[in-house]
Symmetry: C2
Subunit: 316 residues, 2 copies
């Protein structure tokens, strides 16, 4: 008989979240532990092991179909994780093999976290009906994952999906990555906040200023989104402009890969339906004509659960 559940581990910068997930995509049990990224790879792996053991203890005495892990960094097909940000001293770690030594009875798969979230939306969320789509995570940075024929497209070395570093202006502002005009350099958390702070100088009436106690250093997209909800004009302008910029990059991917659907997750994407509408309008006005009738942009459905669900989806 097929196992009806799996263990999913969402390895984040600050927290390891592990869940027992049913084949229908329900989280039946979950725990949280600090990642301890400052203590280096062995400490982090220890935390994963502790959280997996705890989850197994809550797996109803049955054997799950496997253990899936969503990890930051580039992940190759054999489960080797390269250079995840925010974990000190983690250069190249064969995470799947190491966990396999600890849990020899289980099938273990490791995938990049954005790819895992894309898989979650594909299996359990907004992408269920769409075999082909571009998933975007819009938060601190801008990342993504590409689903083709219901499967993740990893690229030759597992690095695919980096939509945030598409340049939308060859002569635009410098990005951390070395390129110019990357869409992330307009709409990633820090950049969007900076651009808004700049605008606020000439918009003293904006509700954003009240929300941040007139302290520009406190600007964050969550305040911009909250101000937008309260009807603030500048906040809406900034988010609509950001959505329009994101649409430019999404349109490029759709033209090149012949895609029509995009699903937008991550913190900033939850600012309101008007942002999703702005993205969709931007995409539709910019893709090649044959693609236009099919263009659809949705908000992701699984929110913070996408990590655990996608990780479990790797082995379900």
């Amino acid at each position: 008989m097929k196992a009806r559940f799996a263990i999913g581990v969402d390895l984040g910068a600050t927290t390891v979240k592990t869940g027992v997930v049913s084949a229908a995509g329900k989280i039946l049990y979950q725990n949280r532990l600090p990642t301890n990224g400052h203590s280096g790879p062995p400490a982090v792996i220890k935390q994963i092991e502790v959280s997996v053991r705890d989850a197994l203890a809550h797996a109803f005495g049955k054997k799950p179909s496997g253990i899936g892990i969503g990890s930051p960094g580039v992940v190759d097909e054999s489960g080797v994780v390269k250079s995840p940000p925010n974990i000190d001293g983690w250069d190249i770690v064969p995470l799947a093999r190491k966990l396999g030594n600890t849990f020899p009875r289980f099938r273990i798969k490791v995938e990049n976290d954005a790819n895992a979230a894309a898989i979650a939306e594909s299996r359990f969320g907004a992408g269920k009906k769409y075999p082909n789509f571009l998933f975007v995570i819009w938060g601190t940075g801008v990342g993504g994952g590409i689903i083709l024929n219901g499967k993740i497209y990893r690229g030759p070395t597992g690095g695919a999906g980096e939509i945030g570093h598409i340049s939308i202006d060859h002569n635009g502002p410098e990005c951390n990555c070395g390129n110019r005009g990357c869409v992330e350099a307009y709409i990633g958390q820090r950049y969007l906040s900076q651009r808004t702070a700049e605008k606020l100088k000439s918009r003293p009436e904006s509700k954003i200023l009240e929300l941040i106690n007139r302290d520009a250093s406190r600007i964050e997209p969550m305040y911009i989104a909250e101000a937008a909800r309260l009807g603030d004009q500048l906040a809406r302008e900034m988010l609509v402009e950001a959505g329009t910029f994101l649409g430019v990059a999404i349109a490029a991917v759709m033209n090149v890969m012949d895609l029509r659907v995009s699903i937008i997750g991550g913190g900033i994407s939850a600012s309101g339906g008007f942002v999703i509408d702005a993205i969709e309008e931007s995409v539709r006005s910019r893709v090649l004509k044959p693609l236009r009738p099919g263009i659809k942009v949705f908000q992701a459905r699984l929110g913070n659960d996408a990590g655990i669900l996608g990780a479990a989806g790797l082995v379900l």
Copy 2:
């Protein structure tokens, strides 16, 4: 025994070229006929049939492994061709089926022409050693094809590879396609010529002016390339800038699809090695760091033969 050759048809805007191609990628025989695109689909199909019959008559009395056709327009998996430019009244034509009625003894495959050229470079040309690359055709327009694991990536409906309509400036000049700042709107034949004509007003010393008899309406990339060969400074500047722009779009595709190699074909790509160098430098400076060491940009090797060779490659 495996057939050692195939028939390849390169259906162009003005000419149908058909060849007998060996498994090693040699054109053993070839013919040329006018496309007669102004006379509509039945006339065009007639020309294909005549040229294939002639090629079969030169196939050494043996049966080829099949008939491949590279066609403009969007081509679906069953060989239906949609809206090729320059053929009057061709909306949706099931080309593979129609040719199958005429040549029932043969396996018949139809593919988009840019995809066919990408396949040719993959099997017989500059891409032989590279299982994954982005092929670009840079001429009248800017198109392309994507080779993944040695096979063409067609996308869900066969429309993939439209690298020319990646915007490199969200606020740039309008493109025919409706988008703004498409790389084609900077470096496609007409646009590159216009931009050069504009610059020539303040550069009366340029050798381009001699080559076109000081008649700006005659500017074409071939004259810009010729002037560059003669050492003209403006001509080199224009082509290096164009290559740099193309690199911005290629870098976007490489970041998203995790690719490292690009092969550049089409008329303008033959302007000189310095253009290929400019593209490569632009790509390398703009892709994400993990990709940089592997970045390679090559000139295509098969030139005008790519169409026939790629078409034959579909059935070899």
